[in-house]
């Protein structure tokens, strides 16, 4: 009797232990979602649109025709490269109307970053800086001041998309664009 009781007890303990282990496994590995984000600190806050122009290599109005995400990222971070057809260009020799520019931005549709991403089909007024990346083409650019140099075409003119506390106009009209393009 004693042995039988002892065996039953062992079996019961074993069942409890297995159940506990299974339950433990179920709660110890809950479903996870993974994500990637890019944070950064802007080097300069701009006091005027003239200072953005001064820091830019080119000023253009252009329409986004396509986008891609480079496999190795941009400078070590996930990023998006937008190809844009140039509509108007300033005095720089780097870009001409009818030409193409490539704008590099950190982040993507699935990776959040600091600046609003350009969108395919939209037209922008962009203040652009040469990337200084290895093997960069002459028409590869970052947006000057990360988010500062992005304005999107609306029915009222070009609307500022950046939300950082730069002292920049919220709207730039077509006539003001012409004046900016005459500078650079």
């Amino acid at each position: 009797m004693k042995n039988l009781f002892s065996m039953r007890l062992r079996v019961a303990v074993g069942v409890v232990a297995i159940s506990a282990a299974l339950t433990g496994c179920a709660t110890a590995v809950p479903e996870s979602t993974t994500s990637v984000e890019v944070h950064g600190s802007r080097a300069v806050l701009y006091e005027s649109i003239d200072s953005v122009v001064a820091d830019s290599a080119v000023v253009v109005t252009a329409k986004v025709t396509s986008q891609s995400q480079p496999k190795d990222g941009i400078a070590g971070s996930p990023g998006t490269i937008s190809a844009l057809a140039v509509i108007e260009a300033g005095t720089s020799d780097l870009v001409k109307p009818g030409g193409e520019v490539f704008v590099f931005q950190y982040g993507s549709e699935t990776v959040s970053a600091m600046a609003p991403l350009l969108k395919v089909g939209e037209t922008y007024l962009l203040f652009l800086s040469s990337t200084a990346l290895p093997d960069a083409r002459s028409n590869d650019f970052f947006v000057t001041g990360n988010s500062a140099g992005i304005y999107q075409l609306t029915s009222d003119g070009y609307k500022r998309l950046g939300t950082d506390p730069d002292k920049l106009p919220e709207l730039i009209t077509q006539s003001e664009v012409a004046a900016l393009l005459a500078v650079k």
Partner: protein, 181 residues
């Protein structure tokens, strides 16, 4: 017989309020400005792999030491850590950037990897102190802090670093990290 008891109670309550107020004044100071990302490493002892060189190594090492010495976090060197401190070179308008991987489940959000990088393009014109500040800022992100007030390490713009170079990290930054870990 009851009056003295009531007076005693009132006096004791007043004293308690006064003491509480005094403690708040002594301990509270200005309201916290720090902002938390909402994710943290799984432990307060965090391994870190610093692959910077030259002046950027000096700056990043000092920044790592400052967070480790001043907060409840302990940063230890490891060549296999998923927390990498490095440099990059790009005319992207940034003083530095941090790329973070996280995993979120029912228990919360865990940082599983980070790449905290100082930008040598903008950093070329920075003093040693400003380079250190830039790394302290990126490390703050990698440890779980968001941007904060302009007089802290987690100020959103490097242009503020010049004004506040001498105090890295600030009390507010330290409180932020200690609130996480």
């Amino acid at each position: 017989m009851k009056r003295p008891k009531i007076r005693t109670r009132v006096t004791a309550a007043a004293a308690a309020i006064l003491i509480s107020s005094a403690l708040v004044l002594v301990q509270g100071g200005p309201a916290n400005a720090y902002s938390l990302y909402g994710c943290k490493w799984s432990s307060a002892t965090i391994s870190i792999r610093n692959i910077t060189a030259g002046v950027y190594s000096t700056a990043s090492s000092a920044a790592i030491l400052s967070w480790s010495n001043l907060t409840d976090v302990t940063l230890t060197a490891s060549s296999s850590s998923p927390f990498v401190v490095t440099t990059y070179n790009a005319n992207d308008g940034l003083a530095g950037k941090t790329t973070m991987s996280t995993a979120t489940n029912a228990f919360g959000c865990t940082i599983t990897g980070a790449n905290a990088a100082g930008n040598t393009y903008t950093g070329a014109s920075y003093s040693a102190g400003k380079k250190r500040f830039a790394y302290a800022h990126e490390l703050g992100h990698a440890l779980g802090l968001n941007h904060s007030a302009n007089n802290t390490v987690m100020a959103p713009f490097a242009s503020y670093y010049d004004t506040y170079l001498n105090n890295v990290p600030t009390t507010d930054d330290i409180n932020g990290i200690n609130a996480i870990y």
